[in-house]
Amino acid sequence: MSALEVRDVVVDYEARGGGRVRAVAGACLTVEPGQIVGLVGESGCGKSSLARAAVGLVAPTAGSVFFEGAPVSPLTRRARPRELIRLQLVFQNPYSSLNPRRKVGSQLGDALDALDLVPRRGRSARVRELIELVGLPATAADGYPHEFSGGQRQRIAIARSLAANPSVIVLDEPLASLDASAQAQLANLLVDLSRDLDLGLLLISHDLAIVRHIADAVSVMYLGLMVETGPTLPLWQVPLHPYSEALIGSVPHPDGTGFLPEALPGEVPDPANPPSGCRFHPRCPYVFDRCRTDDPPLVPLQDGRTAACWLQPQGAPVALPGDRVKGVNLPR
């Protein structure tokens, strides 16, 4: 049984003027216990909407989310069901998700009290344990959020989510706006936590190099849909969807070789008005006639990989990018 399963989820938002914008257009995703799954894609592709739907913060228009086999009910005015406390969310900016006027220790204590997880006597010991779990000194409990650096604050936010003994944490851009060194520390911490606590992590990030480094599996999202999923390294070595190929090719290399990344032509289309057929076709260098009219389904391929591209016929051996027939190339 997967720890978290997102099945054909659709998320619509009301647009100004009464229309509807489809942010997520039927996306699937699974996170196994102890697995780190990276979710990547450009801004506006629906990553964050999917994350919110996955923890029940927004109600999906269609589709369903299962956490440890039970359906995740969207948040309402009532209390969140007790079973869902082991499904946690960590936001991008810990400075706005932590209370600036209260000490770190008492904020962590609140989490324990609200959930009634430890007896009053064991509270401070558990707070200390949580703080040590994220690699901060025990004295951090007596500090206020502003006394910590960005990376340390993000650790505190993670410690607070660990208070609930979660089995899955969804992290929305946890590494954005940190210096390289703080990013490295936090990335290593996430790997350790996932291994030590058998914790499933859904890591949403636009930093592809970090995702490649720590994720076991990757899902690539484009305009509300998954276009490719698979184990991280094979996906990186031979991306099967032209969009994954373009994303990976646009990451610069910090090695002084002067590698100038390839730019993807065009822009992410307006999700209120997606292109016909394959949503990626106006930007795809391999586009051919069928792509303009028919939407390719996400089909299973070899070795636990899936891709939604007409160049990857179901069941057949995967086609390497070099073997593909080049269609009409768009001007760069």
């Binding site: 060194s181 490295a184 290593n188 646009s250 990451v251 290399h253 910090p254 002067g258």
Partner: protein, 322 residues
């Protein structure tokens, strides 16, 4: 002769605790048509050293040293004259184009105002000039873009527009401060290619300020690594990034995942945090975080000296195994 020569630049900013040194004796030169990279963590003084050239520091800031730009001495110029020179021949692009573009003025207005002022063009000519500028940075449908407003464009397009505005007076030097940090990688690649093309076609010099060594590696010819207001290592981009010799440069690179590196090798974070201005450690300012620090590093400030193919401010060379 270099286009820009900075010598002994020192910048002190007023704070509640008195003047605090944020740039502490920096030398560098930018050649014609090159991309000069300035790297370092936040607070290392890389942005302040550039703002001082344009006279954009807060009131009460104290700037010492000399900055020669072409035949001008930028630090000893009357403010009015600096505005003329800097407006025409120097330009700057910032991290977030949404805050540097005016939200209520059309793109056309923002692209023609300074062109008319600095180049003395009439309205018609200025509009023609603006159209050419937008075409040059590959804005689709430039004629209707002139009548549009910043919020109608995506982040990448806004940054292209900011670059078009910066380059409209055909400056000799463009200072780009984290120009791609707020953008997606796919869009970032487009901006990097644009900057690379503009400098080749227009003989433009670019100072690229970034904390992202990948971005630096893509287009910089030469780089300076800043730490706590000082340059610790400088040289060709290839030499510094492929064989870093200052322990700080090495540590910065070890903290980064390489897009083609091994997955199971943990990333190595730098111990501690960068010092805040006003609380710079004695001796070599990197010594409290340095894996190679010795007794002498606590007392002696290492000078930036030529070492083979580069400048290095460290007597201990981590490349030499001990």
């Amino acid at each position: 002769m270099s286009l820009l020569e900075v010598e002994g630049l020192r910048v002190r900013l007023p704070t509640t605790r008195g003047l605090v040194t944020v740039v502490d004796g920096v030398d560098y030169a930018v050649e014609h048509g090159e991309v000069f990279g300035v790297a370092g963590e936040s607070g290392s003084g890389k942005t302040m050293s550039m703002l001082s050239l344009l006279g954009l520091l807060p009131d009460g800031a104290v700037v010492e040293g000399s900055v020669r730009f072409g035949e001008h001495d930028l630090l000893r110029m009357p403010r009015r004259r600096l505005r003329e020179v800097a407006g025409r021949e120097l330009a700057m692009v910032f991290q977030d184009p949404l805050t540097s573009l005016h939200p209520m003025l059309s793109i056309g207005r923002q692209l023609t105002e300074h062109v008319r002022l600095h180049l003395g063009l009439g309205r018609r000519d200025a509009e023609r000039h603006a159209l050419a500028s937008l075409t040059d940075v590959r804005i689709p449908d430039p004629a209707s873009a002139l009548r549009a407003f910043p919020h109608q464009f995506s982040g990448g397009m806004r940054q292209r527009i900011a670059i078009a505005i910066a380059l409209a007076c055909r400056p000799k030097l463009l200072i780009a401060d984290e120009p791609t940090t707020a953008l997606d990688v796919t869009v970032q690649a487009g901006i990097l290619r644009l900057l690379d093309r503009l400098r080749r076609e227009n003989d433009l010099s670019v100072v690229l300020i970034t904390h992202d060594l990948g971005v630096m590696s893509a287009i910089a010819d030469r780089v300076s690594i800043f730490y706590a207001g000082k340059v610790v290592e400088a040289g060709s981009c290839e030499a510094v990034l492929s064989t870093p010799r200052h322990p700080y440069t090495r540590a910065l690179l070890d903290a980064l995942p390489h897009p083609e590196g091994l997955q199971d090798k943990p990333l190595v974070a730098i111990a501690g945090a960068p010092p805040s201005p006003g609380a710079i450690p004695s001796g070599c300012s990197f010594h409290p975080r340095c894996a190679y620090a010795q007794e002498s590093c606590l007392h002696h400030v290492p000078p930036l000296v030529a070492m083979g193919d580069r400048l290095l401010a460290c007597p201990i060379d981590p490349l030499v195994e001990r």
